[in-house]
Symmetry: C2
Subunit: 255 residues, 2 copies
């Protein structure tokens, strides 16, 4: 269960994947455009592009390279190994309705949280909205803190080493000490709380979701604007609602 770090790593593959990512993010790129983005000679970039095309990860059309639809299918295969959208949505909508706030379920992976589904729409739908995000840090999210509070401190350290504690809002915790204090509180409380540390005005509570084998699969969270969600409501309502939802989600994962 040890998530070891890096042994030898291949530069070529790394570059290829980087190019793939760039093309995906920019929704299609030409060789000339890529030439300005990565610092390899055009000829090298072309080799990478050829390889990615040949392997059907890219499609070339009119000199512009796009990520292939096949990648979308591969992605769906991956998703089919995870909980069904339906079962998650049921729990999320229930939680959102009871509380009147937005609920999210995220997957814990490589020290980050990746949006699985949220009641305000899922990643696939709102993808291209301005600052819509589908990837979050642990240190400034409610579910993230909850997860960190359950992990071995060594592992927490490694995650912080990897990602740092970037400030995303005025209130973001950026000092290790403070974070560890907060994690202790979180562990006592049984769920994580984020008070404008992720975004101004946003308050939320979150908890870890475990798979059948007991490992942390991801996190569940609910929250809304600060004027609706105050300390009292958190302690008396949201916290309990959240933990109920955790139970029902985890039990639905076991079945």
């Amino acid at each position: 269960m040890i998530e070891r770090s890096d042994g030898r790593t291949l530069k070529t593959t790394r570059t290829s994947l980087r190019i793939l990512t760039l093309i995906l993010e920019h929704d299609g790129l030409t060789l000339a455009q890529l030439d300005g983005m990565v610092e390899s000679p055009k000829s090298s970039i072309l080799s990478h592009l050829n390889t990615l095309c040949d392997s059907r990860y890219l499609v070339k059309s009119d000199g512009t390279y796009h990520v292939s639809f096949r990648v979308a299918l591969l992605g769906e295969t991956v998703r089919s190994r995870y909980p069904s959208r339906e079962s998650v949505r049921t729990v999320l909508e229930d939680l959102a309705e009871r509380t009147g706030e937005e609920a999210n379920f995220t997957i814990f992976e490589h020290g980050r949280l990746l949006l699985f589904h949220g009641t305000s729409g899922n990643a696939a739908t709102e993808e291209d909205e301005a600052d819509y995000r589908s990837e979050y840090y642990l240190h400034n999210t409610a579910a993230g803190k909850a997860i960190l509070s359950e992990l071995d401190p060594k592992r927490v350290e490694r995650i912080i080493d990897k990602w740092g504690l970037p400030r995303e809002s005025e209130a973001t915790i950026t000092a290790r000490e403070r974070l560890f204090d907060e994690l202790a509180e979180t562990a006592d409380r049984g769920y994580g709380v984020v008070d404008e540390e992720f975004a101004p005005g946003l308050v939320a509570v979150g908890a870890a979701i475990h798979s059948a084998d007991g490992t942390v699969l991801g996190g569940l969270s609910v929250g809304g604007p600060k004027y609706r969600v105050d300390r009292t409501r958190i302690d008396h309502e949201l916290g309990e609602q959240l933990l109920d939802a955790v139970q029902s989600l985890e039990s639905s994962l076991r079945s």
Copy 2:
């Protein structure tokens, strides 16, 4: 608009991607298992695995490597560049209902057809069923023939060179000459017909779907068991219903 072929191609990246694919297909593999599948020394394989993990395409858990959920998200980003599931489903369900047969929409890419959505459920849902497929050849599918009949013969040749004309059923056309004859007929008729060439007992009609810029995006097809779908029904009913659906799908893509 020339889809040129291979210049230089990178062995390292190719191997990495191959390993990624293997892990995806087998739903998780260990180093030892991979050692038996690819013919590189363990140490090399490990380098690839390290790289893929580092780049967050794989997740290592208990010695077993899995494709990361992040890949699922990347896939969704790709899908968001394509027509919305909704608009396609509407047309497909309409077509399926009018005809009482199954309808599919596939994406044309790299000389193959990839399932976008079908009325019997989509790829994500039925993924792990025994011989459920999401990738088809052009030469033995109705939509595939329709697409081939629209393409430049040179390009048809290149596609055949790449994929061959594998026999998937008794009736599959495996000779170039015969295929080109069939394509001529297809062009005249305005849609493709497949008569047990894909699977025994399956008869279907199909046509190409074009994007706004006029290029072939994919194919639409309807069909069912031979005892329900005979020549008369094709000529008098299915063909027309299909072409109507093509119109409405293409117009919905333009908007």
